[in-house]
């Protein structure tokens, strides 16, 4: 698990989500990227039922990543995170009288997985309720685990196929202590996806978005 950056790419002017994704595929293939299967990342939302104190209940997000198929990641926005095995989903089913699954809020990103030397690039179409809402790009530099050491290289690589859409350093890395060995872990990737999915949920439905 190397340093991973997740960003959202806007849909190209006058094109559909699918066409923009295809353009990105072409660019990566021209660079020399080799397609290696597919990936998916999904996120389900749970909220507590019947809050006695009357406060708005915090949302619990349960995410899965095809890169770690036996794991289940549970997150509270900004709050504690938990890495658990796949049985955590079964436990959430048992807890259904306390935590309700907001089924309409499930967001997922599915797409192709490319390998280019030490980089793993995942181009995904973000969908919510079967409608495409955006494009996610995940770039992992597998050779390094310290974000500070390889960010410049990653940014340069992302600029080569994303152009001006290449992102700034993600906030999960800037909050890590400067100068100390602070390895990135899968939680950093998942919290970036969570941020992206939250943005997508708040966005309007894109005109002409493909229905699966």
């Amino acid at each position: 698990m190397g340093v991973t950056c997740v960003c959202q790419v806007p849909v190209a002017e006058g094109k559909s989500v699918q066409q923009t994704v295809d353009q990105l595929h072409k660019k990566l293939e021209q660079l020399g990227g080799v397609k290696q299967g597919s990936f998916f990342v999904d996120c389900e939302t749970y909220h507590t039922t019947g809050n006695a104190s009357g406060q708005p209940s915090k949302l619990l997000y349960v995410m899965h990543n095809s890169e770690t198929p036996l794991s289940c990641l549970a997150l509270y926005e900004g709050g504690p995170y938990l890495t658990a095995d796949a049985n955590f989903d079964v436990l959430m089913v048992k807890l259904k009288s306390h935590f309700q699954n907001a089924k309409g809020h499930k967001v997922e990103s599915r797409g192709a997985r490319y390998r280019y030397c030490d980089f793993l690039v995942k181009l995904g179409t973000v969908t919510m309720s079967s409608s495409a809402r955006g494009i996610s790009v995940e770039v992992e530099y597998c050779a390094c685990v310290v974000p500070g050491d390889c960010w410049n290289l990653m940014k340069e690589f992302m600029q080569s196929f994303l152009g001006s859409n290449a992102p700034e350093i993600p906030s999960v890395f800037t909050s890590k202590p400067e100068g100390l060995f602070a390895p990135a872990d899968c939680m950093d990737t998942m919290s970036q996806y969570l941020e992206l999915f939250s943005k997508v949920r708040k966005q309007q439905v894109l005109p002409g978005s493909s229905v699966r």
């Binding site: 998916f40 955590f88 048992k94 306390h98």
Partner: protein, 208 residues
């Protein structure tokens, strides 16, 4: 760097419901050695495995009904090992002639942020204890002989006091729902441990 298999099958709800079959008993401290000796003879040939665990029991109080109980367990002998979270359902009320206590069981391995996460979910720690002892296996049967100790200062597992002058003996099997031959095998194994220890089906409701 090969892509891991992408599964399109949902994991939720469709997983096999695992059931725990349980028989419990106890032995006084002075009889421990003879019991361990008998178990070493009866069980699978392996290095005697001892353990030291710290278990915290969390409750989630809902609006109605009984609180939801979750048990979080970590190893004191292997501090870097993941936490083990366990949910145990209500005992199945079925056949009176069924020899073991049967209840639904969900086991989840979790990272070290588990206590904070459970607190964020609304769970509150009800009590904690330390269990130290030995574990034996015979096929799918698991025998755990443990000494339970009370934690005197919350969070401090070095300062403990034994709860009793006995060791708790538990014979359990984890199997998918519907396999009733399991309790027969457990009963015949329990017979071989008599008269050192009497393992029986103890209904937790009767103790409350």
């Amino acid at each position: 760097m090969e892509a891991p298999p992408v599964t399109v099958m949902p994991v939720t709800g469709g997983t096999i419901n695992m059931m725990e079959y349980l028989l419990q008993g106890s032995v006084l401290d002075q009889s421990l050695d003879s019991l361990l000796h008998r178990l070493r003879g009866l069980c699978d040939n392996m290095e005697p495995e001892s353990f030291a665990d710290h278990e915290l029991v969390y409750l989630l109080k809902g609006q109605q009904g009984n609180p939801f109980i979750l048990r979080a367990r970590r190893s004191l002998a292997h501090p870097t090992a993941p936490w083990h979270l366990r949910y145990l359902g209500q005992p199945e009320v079925g056949d009176k002639s069924r020899h073991a206590l049967v209840r639904n069981c969900v086991d989840v391995s979790a990272s070290h942020s588990l206590p904070d996460f459970l607190n964020e979910m609304g769970f509150r720690m009800d009590h904690e204890f330390v269990a130290k002892g030995h574990i034996f296996r015979k096929g799918v049967l698991k025998v755990v002989v443990s000494k339970l100790s009370r934690v005197l200062v919350p969070g401090n597992t070095d300062n403990t006091e034994p709860l009793s002058l006995s060791y708790l003996v538990e014979l359990s099997v984890l199997a998918p729902a519907g396999q009733d031959t399991v309790s027969e095998d457990m009963r015949s194994f329990a017979e071989q441990l008599k008269p050192l220890v009497h393992l029986e089906k103890i209904d937790p409701k009767r103790l409350m």
